[in-house]
């Protein structure tokens, strides 16, 4: 089971433009669809609420980690912590990192979200090696096995 999300996307815009879209709280809110109370400040909690129609009652909360101009923007949060009655504080937060690299045509954006579990990478890779194609199949086998012998 892969426990980290990695995305890379080429943007036809200068690094400075992408940096602003990521770190200006109003611009971030436009594309992320969240209305934030104030600017991002490293080490501080960022609060707001979702602006997606029908989900305006949902809060958005993250802790800004790093803001290294035009290179790295990161925050921790509880992804999809959307049940207003649930306490997510005991759950381990995940780390979201946006890394920017200048290219000949604009900007390469690398997004990573990690920390879905606390399994060190090497061990996880070892333990779930069979996952590459085989895990789902194996899961089905186990499922039918369990179903046959309840």
């Amino acid at each position: 089971m892969n426990d980290r999300i990695e995305k890379r996307i080429e943007l036809k815009a200068p690094v400075s433009r992408v940096w602003r879209a990521l770190t200006d709280y109003r611009e971030f809110g436009e594309w992320f669809r969240v209305k934030l109370d104030g600017p991002f400040v490293p080490g501080q909690v960022s609060r707001g609420h979702i602006t997606y129609p029908g989900y305006e009652h949902l809060k958005w909360e993250a802790v800004v980690q790093k803001m290294e101009p035009e290179q790295l923007f990161s925050f921790t949060w509880h992804p999809y912590a959307v049940d207003p009655n649930a306490d997510y504080s005991q759950e381990p937060p995940t780390l979201v990192e946006f890394r920017l690299e200048q290219t000949t045509t604009g900007t390469l954006l690398l997004l990573t979200e990690s920390g879905f579990d606390k399994i060190p990478e090497a061990r996880r890779a070892e333990a779930f090696r069979r996952n590459d194609g085989g895990w789902t199949e194996q899961m089905k086998n186990i499922e039918s096995h369990v179903a046959q012998k309840p």
Binding site: F32, I119, I142
Partner: protein, 113 residues
Amino acid sequence: MSHRSRSLAARHAPAPVFAALGDETRLLLVARLCDEGPRSISQLAAGSRLTRQAITKHLRVLERARIVHSVRAGRESRFALDPAPIEKAKSYLDLVSEQWDEALSRLKAFVEE
């Protein structure tokens, strides 16, 4: 957010599953139950450096996360793997991944306009 947002309220990180799997010993136990099918504590202890007490403790953690459950087999209990929570954790990651795809495509449109 996508057309799958309707199910959002019912979803949050299956942290107990991730946490339960965040231990080398428990991962090994899961792998053994996966390969060998239901096993008793004695069977799991045989050929292992772990004591029965240690295995019992780890199985309880996995049981609380509903990754394993015990099945009576004659006089002894056997522990069986339940794939559903692990699959749920995986589909949760798929959902988060999909949400990022959509957010990043909105970002792309936003900065390229």
